[in-house]
Amino acid sequence: MKKNKSLFFYLFLSSGILILAFIVLPLLQMIISPSYEMMKFTIMDRDVLRSMWLSIYTALSASLIAFIFGTPLAYLLARSDFRGKRLVESIIDLPIVIPHPVVGIAILSIVGKNHWFGQVLADLGIRIMGTPAGIITVLTFVGLPFYINTVKDGFQDISPRLENVSRSLGASMAGTFFRVTFPLAKRSMLTGSLMCTARAISEFGAVVVVAYHPMIAPVMLYERFESYGLKYSQPISVWLILICLSLFLVLRIVTLDKGVKA
């Protein structure tokens, strides 16, 4: 860019600043609105604390499930080429584009007592509707694509030659995966888990269909807003945003580091 900018440049710059202001100002206003006492009072509220905790632990559980079942799929997608690979990738992206309450309704469609799968679950003593298990199911559904896509990219960045060398030195496919591929993909798995957790913790529409109770933090927030108005929902919002921002910060630091180590 030249030092002597044209009018056109300033036009672009102002519309950029407008966008940033549009994102930052509402958040800032919300954060400075509640008083210190309100903030303290809110976090001492046992209901709020319980919902926060529920949000965190269901989101982390969803992440863990994505890690356990999503990692192998991400690896297969990164390493092999097969007919219909694009279809599989499209299926994995589906949860991103489906309206949130529809996700909840879709999950309920299969776990009801009049569906064989719901019967199986009921026989096993697993209830989905209105339970933490249900919340975790829904959060896994919406968080999975973020985990799988990130980790797939991570696997693709690892040279298949490293695996070839390992095989030719005598390691089996499993040995190679655990001694070479897995340690090298650790960072992308961490990034993927963080993104999955962030997506899960921010979900509301899908959860509210499956489980209004027990209340996760966004549902609790919504209820406070509905019952007591804006002023009483702001402190919870701020606490919730702080949790998300710390997640986000860790994510940025992790991805920043990448350049240094790789």
């Binding site: 040279s159 030659r161 060398v165 095989r167 030719s168 030195l169 005598g170 390691a171 090298l184």
Partner: protein, 345 residues
């Protein structure tokens, strides 16, 4: 011994067609060819790393075609060294040991011997990130040899190195081949390496092996256009043979020997074609008037394209000579070459 029968491979854009190759136990074999000829794919096929479409691969009388790579007993060393970046030098070297039923003492002795031989003892706890190009290659070599493989395959191990390191690593390969008796199969596109290291060589082109033989044979007696071109004979012409003469594009070339063929090709290295401003007195039996078509910079030399009759000759001259001879595009010059410099096939 490696014996490959009618091997065909299809891997994305890479293909191998009907490869037949025999490599003797304990020999040093070189595989040459341009980029994209399929040299690396052939190595990976021998190592069991790419799916085989048809044909078979025997390693020491055992059919390994359908065995997973870990059962092939072949170590592979890639051009980019492919060290495990999360393991330090000694962990890299010892990586494969646990999969081989080796006595603990025996394997420790082997590793420490390799570390000494390759001069790695001061690097053992460094990560690959902190090693120089030559060190990376030596660690990679040590890792490949630690498991005592029957066959060691090297994918252009020298091309990524500085000339100094290259010399050093070449000496190491020689001494390793002498002391361990491992069968060495090396890919290169550098004829100098082939000449100074190997006994036998094969030339590949677009997924096929076009010539196999001793290194000297391949260099001196190319079997076809591609091989002639590959070993640096830039002048290849289809000709009619008549007694000791060859006729092409209006020129009659004296071969100094009788050829028992009606038609075929002759090939001349560009450095064997001498350019002068007028006829020169010399023992060279062939001399033609020509016109400079273009002057192409090759770094240290110029390639001069000269049209004589209907034949395009390519000659090389030194940068200094360009000024002395005042060679410019469209200049009239004389080209000469010895009968002995003409190869025919």
């Amino acid at each position: 011994m490696i014996k490959i029968n009618d091997l065909s491979v299809s891997l994305g854009l890479f293909r191998l067609y009907n490869i037949n190759l025999t490599i003797e136990e304990g020999s040093f074999f070189v595989l040459m060819g341009p980029t994209g000829a399929g040299k690396t794919v052939l190595l990976e096929a021998i190592a069991g790393l790419v799916p085989v479409r048809s044909g078979s691969i025997f390693i020491g009388n055992r059919d390994v075609t359908k065995l997973p790579p870990e059962k092939h007993g072949v170590s592979i060393m890639y051009q980019d060294h492919s060290l495990f970046p999360h393991l330090d030098v000694i962990e890299n070297i010892r990586y494969g040991l646990r999969y081989h039923r080796l006595d603990k003492c025996e394997s420790d002795r082997r590793v420490s011997e390799l570390v000494d031989q390759l001069g790695l003892s001061h690097l053992l706890n460094r990560l690959p990130l902190n090693l120089s190009g030559g060190e990376l290659q030596r660690v990679s070599l040590a890792r490949a040899l630690a498991v005592n493989p029957r066959i060691l395959m090297l994918d252009e191990p020298l091309s990524a190195l500085d000339p100094n390191f290259r010399y050093e690593l070449r000496q190491m390969l020689k001494s390793i081949h002498k002391t361990t008796k491992v069968t060495l199969l090396m890919v290169t596109h550098d004829f100098g390496e082939a000449i100074s290291l190997a006994e036998r060589a094969a030339i590949m082109d677009r997924g096929r092996i076009v010539q196999t033989g001793t290194v000297d044979e391949v260099f001196q007696k190319p079997c076809c256009n591609f091989a002639a071109d590959f070993v640096g004979m830039r002048n290849i012409f289809p000709v009619q043979f008549k007694g000791t003469k060859a006729v092409t594009g209006g020129l009659v070339v004296e071969l100094g020997r009788k050829i028992d063929q009606d038609a075929g090709h002759i090939a001349i290295r560009p450095e064997d074609i001498v350019i002068s401003n007028g006829r020169i007195r010399s023992s060279m039996r062939n001399s033609f008037q020509g016109r400079v078509l273009s002057v192409i910079d090759l770094g240290f030399f110029y390639e001069i394209e000269i049209m004589a009759g209907e034949v395009l000759f390519r000659s090389l001259i030194a940068k200094g000579a360009l000024f002395e001879l005042n060679i410019r595009e469209k200049a009239e010059v004389v080209i000469s070459f010895k009968a002995a410099a003409i190869h025919n096939f």
